[in-house]
């Protein structure tokens, strides 16, 4: 097995995954696991460790959320109202393990191969936030992952790392693994909260944000699996060590990348934040069959597509990808080579979004299937000459505040970027169309306006 990290790099998040029996607690403890948790617990009585100290360390590390938005983790924690303001309401920590962004499979590796790393991260975050009951919401389809996590939680309770008065520290902490029902939208944090509460997974109107009113109307922090793993490592080795990874102060830490599509060795790779795209591509064995690179989706299917030219010098971190008018998202990099039929790829992605729309907001509920029907027609050679303009117009009226959550913004990103950047391919589909009155028209004003907006980066 070739290494899943650059030569000379010492893996952090994936360090233990290839060990036999890596999910078991004995091996984890032997590797120095739960040292930070025990250290913090022991330091409570002496006053050496306080919640704010943990938060400050995370803030100092520059850790940004690994779930997609890249929001500074420590800052997010400070949004929880202080005791005076929230009264008797408990604070909840909710680990978002509903990993379902197409192209993303990094959390699954962590869950199945090194669950205690996640649990320790959750314990430390719970301490920092004053949480007495933490939840981990795992995607319904990850049956094995849920089994592994439940076993790990049982082990942690058995070793006295969870429960009442943990390690004699006076601290109570419970942790529950909750399995989702298998809806993409439940990865959206407020839909996740609704689903955890036993309701339909419908995103909530914001504000109020979960930090103020989340699970059962109580302050809630929702963090991604990888983010919480990073918390553990920051507590192990300190924020200064964490900041040695990365291109600049705003993009720090080790990062997992999911590379898929036309590469020789698709999979999860660990690399320092900010690794140039081409380096990561080389790590994955380069484009399959030595063919030419055509397009890249850098952050899961919700991220706008980039052309081969746009990714040549792109560093893979939050700001680097944003500078290229896309987003790092969940670092799910989908590589498409020259044989890729972009309209077909876009139609395929749009099918996913039409299937996964929760149905709450009109523009998304009606718009996603409409886009999909049109794209299907276009790639099947039944397109009409107005279709491209209509696709752009319809997609343009679905995003930017038209819906409660950003699902429809995600759904239109591949459509708008695909048409803006690969318009000739779509036009070729139309040219194949049987329609006798077919005649290619110049892009209308609207299309050009939208294409212009794309160039400015509608997601920035």
């Amino acid at each position: 097995m070739s290494e899943m990290w650059p030569a000379g790099y010492v893996p952090v998040l994936l360090a233990r995954i290839s060990r036999p029996d890596s999910p078991a607690i004995d091996g984890y403890l032997a590797d120095g696991g739960y040292a930070s948790w025990k250290k913090v617990l022991a330091g409570i009585a002496t006053g050496e460790w306080t919640p704010s100290k943990v938060t400050d360390l995370v803030k100092a590390s520059g850790l940004r959320g690994r779930g997609g938005a890249g929001f500074p983790c420590g800052l997010k924690w400070t949004f929880v109202p202080p005791k005076e303001k929230r009264g008797n309401k408990p604070v909840y920590l909710l680990c978002n393990a509903d990993e379902s962004e197409p192209g993303t499979f990094k959390d699954r590796v962590l869950i199945e191969k090194d669950p205690h790393q996640i649990l320790e991260g959750m314990m430390l975050a719970s301490f920092a936030l004053g949480v007495r009951h933490a939840y981990l919401y795992i995607r319904g389809e990850m049956v094995h992952g849920a089994e592994v996590l439940n076993a790990a939680v049982d082990e942690a309770y058995a070793k006295g790392l969870l429960g009442k008065n943990v390690q004699g520290s006076g601290l109570d902490l419970d942790l529950t693994i909750h399995r989702g029902g298998g809806a993409y939208i439940c990865g959206e944090e407020t839909a996740l909260i609704e689903s955890l509460e036993g309701k339909r997974g419908h995103p909530r109107i914001k504000p109020p944000f979960p930090a103020v009113s989340g699970v059962w109307a109580s302050p809630t922090v929702v963090n991604n699996v990888e983010t919480l793993c990073c918390v553990k490592h920051i507590l192990d080795r300190g924020p200064d060590w964490f900041r040695t990874y990365g291109r600049n102060e705003k993009n720090t830490g080790p990062k997992l990348f999911c590379i898929s599509g036309h590469v020789e060795r698709p999979g999860v790779y660990e690399a320092p934040m900010g690794i140039p795209f081409l380096e990561l591509l080389a790590l994955a064995g380069g484009v399959k069959g030595g063919r030419k690179l055509k397009a890249v989706i850098p952050g899961g299917s919700s991220a706008p597509m980039l052309t081969a030219e746009e990714v040549q010098s792109m560093p893979l971190d939050f700001d680097g990808v944003a500078a290229a008018k896309s987003m790092l998202g969940s670092a799910a990099i989908i590589v498409m080579d020259e044989t890729t039929d972009i309209p077909k790829a876009v139609a395929n992605i749009s099918k996913f979004y039409a299937h996964e729309s929760c149905g709450q907001c009109t523009p998304c509920r009606e718009g996603t299937p409409w886009l999909n029907k049109m794209l299907k027609r276009v790639v099947n050679g039944q397109g009409k000459r107005q279709d491209l303009d209509l696709l752009v117009q319809v997609a343009s009226q679905m995003g930017n505040g038209m819906t409660i959550c950003v699902f429809s913004d995600a759904a239109i990103a591949p459509v708008l970027s695909g048409i803006a950047k690969f318009r000739p391919e779509f036009e070729a589909c139309l040219a194949k169309a049987a329609s006798p009155d077919f005649a290619l028209t110049a892009p209308s004003d609207v299309t050009e306006k939208v294409a212009g907006r794309m160039a400015e980066g509608i997601h920035s």
């Binding site: 339909r200 729309s357 149905g359 009109t362 523009p363 509920r365 009606e366 027609r377």
Partner: protein, 570 residues
């Protein structure tokens, strides 16, 4: 109160208002579907999009709480474009089967599309079908047709938040989402038809009214539900002297926006008319069942006969029955005529105790648990009592007649259907023991079969008057249409009879009598015919938009010339 600027106009609105309500207060009709003042805000139809200064993106106005100094741009280019977009999305899968849809004419989707939709459709994709979820009875009263549903979830929220029964929910997801009953349940609660009221489109309609009448032909009259003592405010909707339905009329003090199924479907019981002329004995007394011993005559002869019999009888042997179904004015005239003029001590009424009726009202707090409740199965028991008509009991004249210990010379029944017991021939036979039996009647029943004199009256549809509901609230109802020429209202009958005694004048109207009540009856003190105790709002042009009248002034649908120019209109 907070000051909010809407399209340049400053309005003052309560601090807990949202931007949509502020717009309506400013007279800007922001279209919407999922918003309803009594339901939680879900902000999901995305129809009420506006621009708000300081917020970079367009906002669903119902989801934005107002702040003092907020500046809302409800008709800016961006806001209108957003609303046009939502309207287009709503219409691409809607079947547009308006010609055969029973909601046509009172459909919010239709209204909003006319007011602000695109002039053309840009879709050529096949429309969504919902096989298995079309034209299905999902309960005893409601028919669901999911092809028309626009997923506003008002009906779901009615069931879960107002009725508290939660029969409905969304099943499936996204474009396949269907509003349906939970598996194994039916939509059967006390107010199930309210789901059809709140449905902005024709997805939920009532079985009873479906395909009875195109709604634009309906005349609407403010009325009061006769079903029980709660006195829900209804819009009595009729055409060509036929009542087709009741819809709730908004009255925040009584029935709020709601109406129970029992009351609602009494509407058609107001139809039917068996007597067009007064009946008097034809000389072959006693009258045989079926009226064989009677003949039709004119009012002069009929009332003359009654007058004569009353004069000849012992005052103490005259019994007059008022009714909890008659207006307070009529009961009062009866009490005046028989109690004071004729001098009978036996002016009384009987009202049925019915099952408990409840209507959700958020003002009914405490022990009432959020409901206005009524147990008397007639609308005006309190009014009859207030008018001086005594409640019958075992010791009263009616009790004695039924026990057989009193055989009155004249029994004057002002409402042949004063009790459910009148449907029992044995009960009628006991009243028939009276030497002379006079009844006011609209439809035949065992009592009219055996009466000596039947005086044909209009029933509720033909008259106006007032009821006193369970809360002691005086509520007026209006005449819907003029009854056939010979038929009179109960009030007119009593006035004409009273005139023969020299006590009443026939030019008196219900309004006139109301004025006398205001002077004589404590419950009516200080009230006027024009303004009885808080009464409901006038019937709305559209039931789904009924609450619009809560927030005047508003741009009416007729004011199309005042509507802003629409983006994208050809």
């Amino acid at each position: 109160m907070a000051k909010v600027t809407v399209d340049g106009n400053v309005v003052e609105v309560p601090n807990d208002a949202n931007a949509l309500e502020a717009c309506r207060a400013a007279g800007v009709d922001v279209p919407h579907f999922c918003y309803h003042p009594r339901f939680t805000i879900v902000g999901q139809c995305r129809m009420c999009m506006v621009e708000i200064d300081g917020m970079p993106k367009v906002q669903a106005s119902c989801t934005v709480p107002i702040r003092d100094g907020m500046v809302i741009r409800a008709t800016s280019e961006k806001a209108l474009a957003a609303r046009n977009a939502t309207m287009e999305f709503l219409l691409i899968n809607h079947p547009l089967d308006c010609p055969i849809c029973d909601q046509a004419g009172e459909c919010q989707l239709q209204d909003n599309a006319v007011a602000g939709g695109l002039p053309v459709s840009r879709t050529s994709e096949p429309r969504r079908l919902t096989p298995g979820y079309d034209r299905t009875e999902i309960g005893p009263h409601v028919i669901a047709d999911m092809t028309r549903c626009i997923h506003c979830t008002r009906c779901i929220r009615f069931c879960s938040e107002i009725a508290g029964t939660g029969e409905l929910s969304l099943i499936e997801r996204g474009g396949h989402a269907i509003v349906w009953t939970h598996e194994g349940r039916i939509l059967d609660n006390e107010w199930s038809a309210c789901t059809a009221d709140v449905c902005p489109v024709g997805a939920l309609t009532t079985k009873e009214f479906r395909f009875r009448k195109r709604v634009w032909w309906l005349d609407k009259t403010s009325s009061i539900c006769p079903g029980c003592e709660i006195g829900c405010n209804v819009s009595l909707e009729h055409r060509d002297q036929v009542v087709h339905r009741f819809l709730p009329r908004v009255n925040p003090e009584v029935n709020d926006f709601w109406l129970c199924d029992h009351g609602r479907f009494l509407a058609e019981s107001l139809n039917g008319r068996d007597f067009l002329k007064p009946l008097v004995p034809n000389g072959t007394l006693p009258s045989a069942p079926g009226g064989a011993g009677r003949r039709e005559t004119n009012w002069g002869e009929a009332l003359g006969l009654v007058h004569e019999k009353l004069k000849a009888a012992q005052a103490g042997s005259i019994v007059a029955l008022g009714s909890a179904n008659l207006s307070t004015e009529e009961n009062w005239l009866l009490a005046e005529l028989f109690g004071k003029t004729v001098g009978s001590p036996n002016v009384e009424f009987e009202a049925d105790q019915g099952p408990l009726r409840r209507i959700p009202n958020r003002k009914a707090v405490g022990a009432d648990g959020g409901f206005v409740k009524g147990t008397v199965a007639a609308p005006n028991a309190k009014g009859a009592e207030a008018a001086g008509v005594r409640k019958a009991d075992g010791a009263s004249a009616l009790g004695k007649i039924l026990a057989g210990s009193l055989v009155p010379d004249v029994l004057y029944v002002s409402d042949a259907a004063f009790s459910a017991r009148t449907a029992d021939p044995a009960f009628a036979a006991k009243l028939r023991k009276a030497k002379f039996l006079v009844v006011h009647a609209r439809v035949e029943n065992p009592l009219t079969d055996v009466a000596d004199v039947v005086l044909p009256v209009s029933g509720m549809t033909g008259k106006d008057g007032s009821f006193v509901n369970v809360q002691g609230r005086v509520q007026r109802f209006d005449a819907a249409f003029v009854p056939p020429p010979i038929v009179r209202t109960d009030l007119e009958v009593l006035l004409h009879l009273g005139r023969l005694f020299g006590s009443f004048e026939t030019r008196w109207t219900a309004a006139h009598v109301f004025g006398k009540l205001a002077a004589a009856v404590p419950a009516y003190q200080g009230l006027t015919w024009e303004e009885p105790a808080v009464t409901g709002l006038p019937p709305s042009s559209s039931p789904a938009a009924a609450y619009d009248v809560l927030r005047p002034p508003r741009t009416s649908v007729d004011d199309t010339d005042k509507l802003p120019a629409l983006a994208g209109k050809a």
